[in-house]
């Protein structure tokens, strides 16, 4: 089973039926897998805060939701995370490509990478860093934790993690 299939299988196991995505090169494979899944409604969004609004609505409609995005989106979504997702106690797993880590070819990506964990820490968002493929063994538990606690969680997936795909 590919890592992309494993991720989507864990989404389905945790009854996630509604996923919004804003693309990233590292996430292309998992987005394809979401798009082809019969169990998940895939709704691409134009900006990540818009996507979080869609997810909040779907959750209130009885469908567990998740967002797939790049770490640059943390800069875009702080207000939405704080005043919608956290303020209303809405669970939201965020599968995030952690651009700007070791192996990154684009220097500008490092500028956001150096702020990513500090911002998530400041927001008190439980954060998990997947560096090797075996780290994904925790995904099932992390997703379950997000819905149990009704909190957003961040799963940062770096270049080393995806190169193992």
């Amino acid at each position: 089973m590919s890592i992309n299939q494993k991720i989507v299988n864990d989404f389905i196991k945790n009854k996630i039926e509604f996923v919004t995505t804003v693309p990233c090169k590292q996430l292309a494979g998992v987005i394809d897998e979401i798009e082809t899944s019969k169990d998940i409604y895939h709704i691409p969004s134009n900006k990540e805060d818009e996507g979080m609004g869609l997810c909040a609505g779907a959750y209130m409609g009885g469908k567990r939701s998740a967002i797939i995005m790049q770490n640059t989106a943390i800069g875009v979504t702080i207000n939405t995370l704080v005043t919608l997702i956290q303020y209303y106690n809405i669970p939201l797993p965020m599968l995030i490509s952690y651009r700007g880590e070791i192996g990154e070819p684009v220097a500008c990506q490092v500028e956001m990478a150096v702020h990513t964990k500090a911002l998530l820490n400041q927001l008190n968002i439980p954060t998990y860093h997947f560096h090797t493929q075996s780290d994904a063994d925790e995904l099932d538990g992390i997703l379950n934790h997000s819905f149990m606690a009704k909190k957003p969680v961040a799963i940062l997936t770096d270049a080393s993690f995806w190169q193992g795909a």
């Binding site: 805060d49 818009e50 979080m52 869609l54 997810c55 609505g57 209130m60 009885g62 939701s65 809405i90």
Partner: protein, 187 residues
């Protein structure tokens, strides 16, 4: 007619419908006029009423009315292509277009100048776009509720506000009672 007067004319037809209402005065006015467990009040996060409404409509069967403003649609323009390309026939987006940022002191928006939100929505691919006067808004909403097609209504009204208290209900309480009502309607 100003926004609060338009909202007043809508109460008989939206009171028993799932409503997602925009941040600031629109939510406060709806709360004052007709607080219902079927109302989801946004206390923060400008711009996302239409996104929350669409996500809700796609996830369940009951009709959903998102009451948005021109300023909020301008701040989340990306919502219109998403709505157009993911049609939910149980979704009505009502944009109260008073050409101003009402909650922050009636500063003018571009929608009150050269930009037509109805034309933007059509250009984004939305199929049923209705622009109407404030006076005709209730009839337009009733027609949309009677039909089974996703509808975008742009209600052109005057700028102006009434004095309303802030909503002191806790956000998780608003969500919890709203979700219980959504669940009851889908049982």
């Amino acid at each position: 007619m100003i926004r609060s007067e338009v909202l007043k004319t809508l109460i008989p037809m939206i009171s028993d419908q799932l409503v997602v209402s925009n941040i600031g005065l629109p939510s406060q006015e709806l709360h004052l006029l007709d607080d219902q467990p079927t109302n989801f009040y946004m206390l923060g996060t400008m711009g996302l009423a239409s996104s929350i409404g669409l996500g809700l409509a796609l996830a369940q069967k009951a009709k959903v009315i998102a009451i948005d403003g021109d300023g909020s649609v301008l701040t989340n323009f990306g919502t219109l292509p998403t709505i157009a390309n993911n049609p939910a026939d149980n979704f009505i987006l009502l944009i109260i277009d008073n050409g101003s940022y009402g909650s922050t002191g009636d500063q003018p928006t571009y929608a009150g100048m050269k930009t037509s939100l109805a034309k933007v929505a059509e250009a984004c691919g939305c199929d049923n776009v209705v622009e109407c006067s404030a006076e005709d808004t209730a009839a337009a909403v009733q027609a949309a509720l009677d039909g089974d097609k996703m509808t975008i209504i742009v209600s052109k009204c005057e700028s102006g506000n009434i004095k309303v208290p802030v909503i002191d209900m806790d956000a998780p309480v608003i969500r919890h009672r709203f979700m219980a009502e959504v669940s009851r309607r889908n049982a």
